[in-house]
Every structure is written in structure tokens, then in C-alpha cells.
Amino acid sequence: MTVIEKSSLIGRRIAKLDAPEKASGQTRYVHDLDLPGQLHGSILRSARVHARIRRIDVSKARALPGVHAVLTAADVPYQRPLGVGKDQLPLKGDKVRSRRDEVAAVAAETVEIAEAALALIEVEYEDLPVLTDPSKALEPGAPVIHGENLAPPSPHDSLKPGEPGDAEAHRHNVAMTFDYAQGDVAAGEAESDVVVDDWFRLHYVTHCCMGVSGVIAEFDRSGNLTLHSNTQVPFLHKREFAEILGMDPGRIRIIQPPIGGGFGSKLDIYPFEPIAVFLAKATGRPVKLVFSREEEFVASPTRQPVLLRLRSGAKRDGTLTFRVCETLHDNGAYTSWGATTPFVMMQTISSLYRVPHCSYHTTAVYTNNPYAGSFRGYGNLQATFAVEQQMDELAEKLGIDPLEMRLRNAQEPGEVTPQGMHFRTCGLRQCLTTAAEASGYREKHRAALAAQKAPGHRKRGVGMASMLHVGGGAKIYPSDGCGTILKIDDFAHVTLMTGASEIGQGSETVLAQLVCEELGIPLDAVTVVNNDTDITPWDVGVHASRTTFIGGNSAIGAARKAKAKILAAAAKVAGVAEAELELRAGHIVRAASGEALMSLAKLLRSLHFSDKAELVMTTHYYEPPSRHQDKAFKGDVSAAYAWATQVVEVEVDTDTGVVRLVKVTGAHDVGRVLNRLGIEGQIEGGIVMGQGYAVTEDLIVEDGVVRNPGFRDYKLVTAPEIPEMDIHFIETMDGEGPQGAKGVGEAPAICMAAATANAICNATGVRIRDLPFTPEKVYRALHAAAAPAKAP
């Protein structure tokens, strides 16, 4: 008798399925694909920040040998507005509103010819007054960015978040507003013993995906469009492309080659994508359009820059009483997802800690700056930066230990917050205590306070911050679901067709793992297909830390249906009750003894060929039990919530302002660890991305122009700069999560800037509310009395 012991893949260190191809250079990204007959597209961008286009002369460009098409807005009368705000056309015809604006496009036989052709295009501009300071956007007489109403009524208004400004508001440069309130702020303030009130300034950073933006568009003879696209939301884009192009969505197929980094940057449609389609249409040839790195810096989205005022109060015992938050979002020239980050920001303001009274207001205004999109953390880095600094400030004013201050106000499991979020599992308290104990927070904090005034230029300090983020999807669209098709062949090999996209985060591996766990098969018995809208079922997209949770539950659902079918068949063949059978290591076994009764492959073949002429193929669509927010932004938008506390230890050189991150101790409520290797990678990568946001990265935009469009002066963190990391997982076993897991993709980046700010303050006694903590910024803050005013 062969006995097969029960085993589990959950919590193990599992190598990514696509890693061997990637590590050997065989993976073909969009940049690496060339189609027969392919032309190369290139875009002429505005030479001005804000101007009317008087004249465009493309005749010389068209005459250049090797040029197949030169397009301006006049050549594409059918183009329709795109993006979240539907406030721009792919090719700009009347005026330009930022330096990234697309004025003309070329398709040519080589990239060199395309670029030579761009240089031959003559554009005559008439400059308009420029608006680059968002705080001046609402002043009387401010330049008007959008005078005209481009947007036709949207056919799916339910997709439109917030309160999009109407035509009148547009004229006053308001793109969007958000208002949220709970309780009675005045009453809260009246019962406060201390109040803090500060301005925080959050800067521009950008995604810097190592793979630059790119797309290949091709039409077949029947007019069907295939896009080889890096999108994170293929199914939403299929619909939106159809709308922009005036096509039947059924004729659009989106294939996602492996993506060289996403981080939220690929959630919106950007003009280069429909422009590639226009060029393909005009030439009848496949058109590939790939950015240079400089173009990537100039013409891809940024994280939302925010000017934020926060007032918070507390009672003498540390209990929070109220919070009032007002933010000004610099939308840039157009509205993308950055404008809607208040959805997430207000959750942190209202619900990271228990606050009875709270109000939140955002105005997003148009300027002539680059426009902001979604970026890992989605506003939460900004909100947490303010909230967690004020937790320290309140603690200091009250003479309470900062950890104690947080524990006193921490959310607990079961809590339903005034905003309507229901924390069925909540590990915040364990996160706080675990991170504090593992890092020696209390002792180090006290020691650094005592040493602040000691001589020497090296100051050590420690700071903490916590975070709350959606961990079970986010119900923003009509559905937050994901579909799975699962088929098993005659040899027990599974093909998992999932709507969930892989962007490097490891979703295909964790989905395969979850299916293996259900079906008792080894990982190499699964092939994941996840990159073709003609094959895979619908999914809302890879965002909001949702893929493991939503895609995972969907995959489990399909696997369980397959398992039920297999066990029912096996029960008949073996003459044993279904409940007594299990699937292990490719076999049907007796659950109690582990005795192997037959191989799974053999059972499948018998089912296929002899018994019932049946294949095992199942489908499942998982929709999380979350709810849309109401008009007042209240509702339980996620099926689960992720929590974390990070403690950052810094060393500040007061002679230079250099802040070095020494160590990060993180405690993350992840529900349950599924793939330890993968989740560690997510946390480590997120910590370093958060470090970049806090310390090194700064997209310098002056007068609407990006001054540092390259890695030379836009400084990503390099290997020698990373801190020591000590990561702890808090497993709260979420009831709705796949095997108990919650989403974690965005969480690790969120606390870093706030914790670093608190650590710098602990080290030096100086609180800086202005990111990033670059050496000169920190030095100026430390030597404020001596520093001359910096030119804005």
C-alpha cells in the first residue's frame, strides 16, 4: 500500500514560476517584440507649457523618405477624450496645457527616421499665461487651463469617482472636490486638551518602472485591433479604447507581454496608446511606440503632489478627539487617478486610529504641471505622513510615549468605523507592539531624546508609523471581481486561465500555489494563462493590493469545483464516500490513512474516455462581499483591511544634512503568509520604494518643466543605501481571505516617510513636514536660522 502524507504549500518559500525565463534574459517584454512589417511611432511633444497652437506644418516631415504617416489632431477628426477626467484628446489641436502634450506623431521605418521627422515638424505657438503654482489656481484672474468642455456625457458615470468639476468649475480650474465628515468636529475640538495644526507638503515622484512605456498596435484585414500593451487593467481598457476609437469593444484584443514594472502607473490610458492605434490605422501596418527614459520622466504620471493641512486634538489621557484635514491637489494639466487619491487618504484620516469627529476636504486644481496618476499606496503615503507625525506631536505635547499614544487609539478587531469600514480582522495592536519590541523602540527613543543636545555631528533617532490600507480589494467599479477558467488535461496538467494580471509581483505563482493546494498537485503541473483578453475571463485589474485576495479566491473557487467533480467521480470508481477522499500528490487517497487509491491522471482519462465522455473544466467568478461607498463616502469598500507598523532608525549627519536609514523593523498584518519568498520580496521592495519617497527621490518641476528627467539626477535608492530590514508577519487569518491571506502589495511603502520624519525629529529635535528629506532640505531645517530663503 502506498501512503501519501498530507502536505501543504502554504507559507513555503516558492520560487516565481516566470523567474527562470527572466533570469536568463529569455522573457520578451513589449520592447523585445517585433512584428513583421512593423513601423516605429514617435511623438512630438509641446515645446511650451501653456500655449495656443497657431499652425502646424508637417510637410517636410511627410516628405522624408521612410516616413509612412505624420498625424496631427486635424488628421484624426474621430478622436475622443480619454483618461479618468475625459479632459484631453490624444493629439492636441487647439492648445497645449503642459510640456507632455502630444502635438503630432510619426510612423516610420526606423526609430531614427521617426525622430528625424519629428525634428522637421514646425509648430507655431502663441503663449498663454502660465499657472504652475496650485495655490494660485483659484485666485481671481488666474490663467484658465480648461476653458472648454471637452467631455461628452460619460456612458458609465458610475465609474466616475468624486465630484468631477462641471464646466463652470473647470473654468475656475477646479478639477474635482471631495468632502467627508463624521461626528461634530467643533464638539471634538471643545473637549480637546491639546491641538496641533500643521501644513505638510508632499512632492512629485514618479514610478520609474525599469521597463519604459510601450505599445504595439495592429489591425487585421477585418478591422480587429490587437494591442500588445503594458496595461494593468486590460478589461477596463478594452472598453475605454473602444470608446476613444469609436470601435466595437468586441473587436479589441489586449495582449499583455510581461510587464517591466507597474506600481500603479498603468491604470489609466495615456495618449501614446491611442496615438499608436491612429498610426496603425493610417499606415495599415503594425506600429510599435516605445518611450525613451527621458520621455518616460516627462510623459508618464507622477505620484499626487499634495499641500495638506491637518489639525488634530487629543484629551490629556491621549484619546484622540477630532481631526480636520484640508488638501490641495495639484492635478496637473489633466485629470488622471491622482485626483481621486482622497478616497484612500480620507480612510487614513478617519479610521487608522479611532477618531470620533472628523472632516476632510480636497480640492484638486488644474495647473500646467505634469499630471498625477495612481502610484502604489494611492494617497496613503501622503495622508500617513501627516497623521503619523501628528501622533508623535500630540504624544510629545501630552508627555506620553508615542507607542502608548498609538496603542490608546488603536483600532480593534470587530470595529466598524464611523466611515463604515468593518475590521473583521485587525492586527494593529500586535503590529505596534511587535515592531516596537523587535526594534527596541522605547529605549532607543528615550536615549535619542536625551542625546539630542550632545556634541557631535552624527545623531541617531528612531521613529514609528502605522498604516491602514485595503487588503481585500476595493469596490470602486461596478464589480471588483475576477474570473477564472480552469481545465485539467488527460495527464492531470492544469491550465489556469485567470483575469488577474502579473506585473512582477508574483500573482501567477501564488494563484498556481492556491490551485495546487486544493487539487493536491505539484506546482509544475500548473500553467497560468493571464495575458490575453480573448482567452482570460474578466478582472477589474491589478491595483488596490487586490490580486492575491480576489484572484486567489476566484482561483480557489474554480479549483474547488474541479475537486468536487473529481472526488465525486473517484468515489464512484473506488466505491468510497466522497467525504473520505482527498487529493494528494497527484493521487486520490483515503483521507484517514493516506492510502493512494489511483492516480489523478488515470481517473481523468477514465472520466474522459470511458465513463461519461467528460472533461474537467470549471469556471468561477469571485465578487468580494464589500460595498460601494455612498455619496458621503461611507461604506465598507474592502472585504479585508491590511495593517502595519514600521519603525525606522536613522542617522543624521548635521554637518551635511545626510539622512541614512540604518534599520527598518516592520510588522505587517498580512492575514496569512502564502508564499514567504514572494511576500518578503513585496515588503522589502515596498520599504525601499518608501525610502526613495522619503529620502532620495524628487522630480523637480520648475515652471512646468521637469528639470531632472534621468536617473543621474532623479535618484532611486541603490543597493548600498538600503537599511537593514527585520520583517515580522502578523497572521490574523482573515475569514474571507484565500487561505486567510490579505492583500499586501501597497502596504510596505506607506509608513516609511512618516516613520523617517519621526526618526529625524527624534534624532535632532527638528520636525520637517516637507518631503523629501534630501541633504540640503534637512540641512536647511537643522540650520534654519542661518539659511537664506530658497527660491520657490
Binding site: A15, A19, K22, A23, P258, A719
Partner: protein, 157 residues
């Protein structure tokens, strides 16, 4: 348009001939002329290391090298490095240690690690970090990349 020139060199162990534009980079030659797309473009100014190859035994950014300067030299790219024991060990370690996420930087890091380990056979973790300071990775936070290089340096044959 710049003129062309035919050059000869050794590429991944094979004597190779290519016709290249005089102003073309070695990266463009590898990708567009030779069709070897494992070497990646990510910045074009030597700041990210995604295009790292090994030329005459040392790692360089192929985006900074003129293709004509490859004449008579010996080039190894990611497509060839796996045939050498250390290269194969590195590729395996990158997989096993979770050093790959989106994977776009990975070929360049593997190439740089290969050169670095040849020059520094028993590196400390800090030395490994210095060794790959010219390779940007946006996904991993470098920890698992350092793990992988360390593991490859310790593994036998």
C-alpha cells in the same frame, strides 16, 4: 545618416560579423542587429545597469559603448553567460532566492554579479551591495538580489 561598417568580434563564444552604424551603441547592435533582446535598455546613460554585458572580461554598460568599438573584442551577454558554471549558478540562485520580480533589471544584474564575483570570490554582503551599485532595481529592494549573489558565491561548481 551615419555610415555603416562591418566588424568582427566574438559573441558568446562564436566568431561573429555584424554591419553596424558608426554612431550606434553596442546595446543597439545586440538588440536590433543581432536580435539578442536579453540585454535591456532602461536609461541609455549608464545609470541603471540594465544593459550590462561583459567585454574582454570586465562588465560594462553596453549603452555607453560604441558598436564599432566591439571590433576584435570578446563579448558575453545574458544569452551566453548561462553556459558558464558561475553564470548558471547565478541564474539558478536568482530564481531560488526570489531575486526576480518584474525581471527587467535581472539580466543586467546577473551579468554584473558574474563579473563582480570573478573579481571578488568571497564577498561580504556589503561588498556585494557595492558591486551592484550601478544596477537599479525598482521591485525587490535589493535584499533578495544580494541573497542570490551571496548564495551563488558559496555554491560549489
Amino acid at each position: 545618416m551615419s555610415h555603416m561598417r562591418e566588424i568582427e568580434f566574438e559573441l558568446n563564444g562564436v566568431r561573429t560579423r555584424a554591419t553596424v552604424r558608426l554612431d550606434m551603441s553596442a546595446l543597439a547592435m545586440l538588440r536590433d542587429v543581432m536580435g539578442l533582446t536579453g540585454t535591456k535598455y532602461a536609461c541609455g546613460e549608464g545609470e541603471c545597469g540594465a544593459c550590462t554585458i561583459i567585454v574582454d572580461g570586465v562588465s560594462v554598460c553596453s549603452c555607453l559603448m560604441f558598436a564599432v568599438d566591439c571590433e576584435d573584442r570578446t563579448l558575453t551577454t545574458i544569452e551566453g553567460v548561462g553556459r558558464e558554471p558561475l553564470g548558471a549558478r547565478l541564474e539558478r540562485a536568482f530564481v531560488d532566492c526570489g531575486a526576480v520580480q518584474c525581471g527587467f533589471c535581472t539580466p543586467g544584474v546577473v551579468m554584473q554579479a558574474k563579473h563582480w564575483l570573478e573579481a571578488h570570490p568571497n564577498p561580504t554582503r556589503d561588498e556585494i551591495k557595492r558591486g551592484i551599485e550601478g544596477n537599479l532595481c525598482r521591485c525587490t529592494g535589493y535584499v533578495k538580489i544580494v541573497d542570490a549573489i551571496e548564495a551563488a558565491s558559496r555554491a560549489e561548481g
